[in-house]
């Protein structure tokens, strides 16, 4: 339970951090909060030769409105974001999901960007970013590129971040009044990784679903956004029957995982049960 040996550096500037990544990216890992990375290092599942500590780059600890997005910097801590009135007013699904993310002490140091780069398959925020259509800004010594959330989560602990890149910012579209969000999760204890979670957003106009977003985590090797099911919702009037039909289709179409926390039958049951609840919440929360 002790990590393998490594070298350590704590750059004073972003440019220096990116230069180190460019030179040694294949053998180096960035550390911000460390709340996901260090457990992996203590288990020796991760053995970077070099740890690049970015906690000195204080200017990356921000969250602010930038036009019609909420922009969140690399060092923004979960504790800051979960308590933020700005986050709650601009992106209420993020605030709601935060009630299920870890525990206070872990949230003090853990960062949203670090959580997204770690891409645990049962983590809340990847599913939330999929539902909200977030954009992830990746920077390297060579420049910057933007990746849509739908192209970011590639597999078990695998993301689109290249070895010489840092996730420098997440940009989340601000919620509009015709949208309501829903979130449901079952886990062994509150704060644990999900056995199954459902995140959704419904844009309802004139009594009909104008747009829908539906994502799951805890059921596969990554968070999943269900485009086929979303198109079943669009154009329909919200109803319990419709939501249960979508829930059944989700339970049938997802190749659910099985582990010591929950078997396949239980996960399918959770999908069938939690999906209508999350969709109903979303429909009810559309501003009257």
């Amino acid at each position: 339970m002790k990590p393998a040996p490594f070298d350590y550096v704590r750059p004073d500037t972003l440019d220096e951090a990116l230069r180190l990544l460019a030179e040694q990216g294949d053998d180096a890992k960035l550390i911000a909060g460390g709340q996901s990375l260090v457990p992996m290092m203590n288990f020796r599942m991760a053995q970077p030769a070099l740890l690049i500590d970015i906690n000195g780059l204080k200017s990356l600890d921000y969250h602010r409105r930038d036009g019609d997005v909420l922009a969140i910097g690399a060092l923004a801590r979960h504790a800051t974001l979960s308590a933020s009135a700005l986050v709650r007013s601009l992106c209420p699904l993020v605030s709601e999901a935060y009630r299920h993310v870890a525990h206070g002490t872990v949230r003090n140091r853990g960062t949203l960007c670090g959580n997204l780069c770690h891409a645990d398959p049962a983590s809340e925020m990847p599913a939330v970013m999929l539902v909200l259509g977030a954009t992830l800004v990746l920077r390297s010594a060579k420049g910057e590129r933007r990746v849509a959330a739908s192209d970011f989560f590639l597999g078990l602990y695998a993301t689109a971040v290249a070895s010489d890149e840092m996730l420098i910012e997440v940009r989340i579209p601000v919620s509009v009044t015709s949208c309501g969000h829903g979130f449901e999760e079952v886990s062994a204890r509150q704060g644990d990784y999900a056995m199954t979670l459902v995140a959704s957003s419904l844009d309802v106009r004139g009594g009909r679903i104008h747009a829908a977003a539906l994502a799951y985590a805890g059921v596969s090797d990554r968070a999943l956004r269900m485009a086929a099911l979303e198109s079943r919702l669009v154009g329909q009037m919200p109803s319990q029957a419709l939501f249960e039909e979508v829930a059944a289709a989700a339970a049938d179409s997802i190749d659910v995982s099985e582990d010591q926390h929950a078997d396949r039958a239980y996960r399918r049951d959770l999908i069938r049960t939690l999906t209508p609840r999350a969709l109903a919440q979303a429909a009810a929360r559309v501003a009257a």
């Binding site: 339970m1 990590p3 070298d7 457990p39 870890a102 002490t105 003090n108 140091r109």
Partner: protein, 165 residues
């Protein structure tokens, strides 16, 4: 593989400390083995049990998920900073009076978490206490007496002026 040692200067429980450590040394092991502050406990070493909780720059942190080198320039307070046998912190007094511990293994982590809660929320409900300690595991008490202790300490702290040590 290079194992270059790194010089660090940290303030621990009010005292400046300078040591030369390997990067891989966890803060928990630094506190316990280098500084002989064994009040901080080691349970799971992957961040879930809470027995290693300390205060870093005013906020609780899992010391098993930090490297000592990361504490360079930081202010660290451990459970030993709360009080002494002669002068217990109100939280320690309350844990004693209300049977908030049996084996005592989770207790240091619980105390640091409770201290942070009461600094932010001096008048919590039982539910708020339960939520706050949800990141600290206890196998002995069933948690209710821990909540009793924190509620009792909260009342004592509201009713008296606590002189910073």
């Amino acid at each position: 593989m290079s194992t270059k040692l790194i010089d660090i200067a940290v303030t621990v429980n009010g005292k400046s400390v300078e040591r030369r450590v390997p990067p891989r040394m966890l803060l928990s092991d630094f506190l316990r083995h280098e500084l002989h502050l064994t009040g901080t406990h080691v349970g799971c070493e992957h961040g879930v049990c809470g027995t290693c909780n300390v205060e870093v720059d005013g906020k609780t942190a899992r010391s098993c998920l930090m490297f000592a080198v990361q504490a360079e320039g930081a202010t660290v307070n451990t459970v030993e900073s709360l009080g002494t046998i002669a002068k217990l912190h109100p939280l320690q007094q309350a844990f004693w009076e209300k049977h908030g511990l049996q084996c005592g293994f989770c207790t240091p982590g619980m105390l640091m978490t409770a201290k942070e809660l009461l600094a932010a929320n001096p008048n919590p409900t039982r539910e708020e206490v339960a939520e706050a300690i949800s990141g600290n595991l206890c196998r002995c008490t069933g948690y209710q007496t821990i909540i009793d202790a924190v509620m009792s300490a909260a009342e004592a702290m509201r009713n008296t002026e606590v002189t910073p040590s």
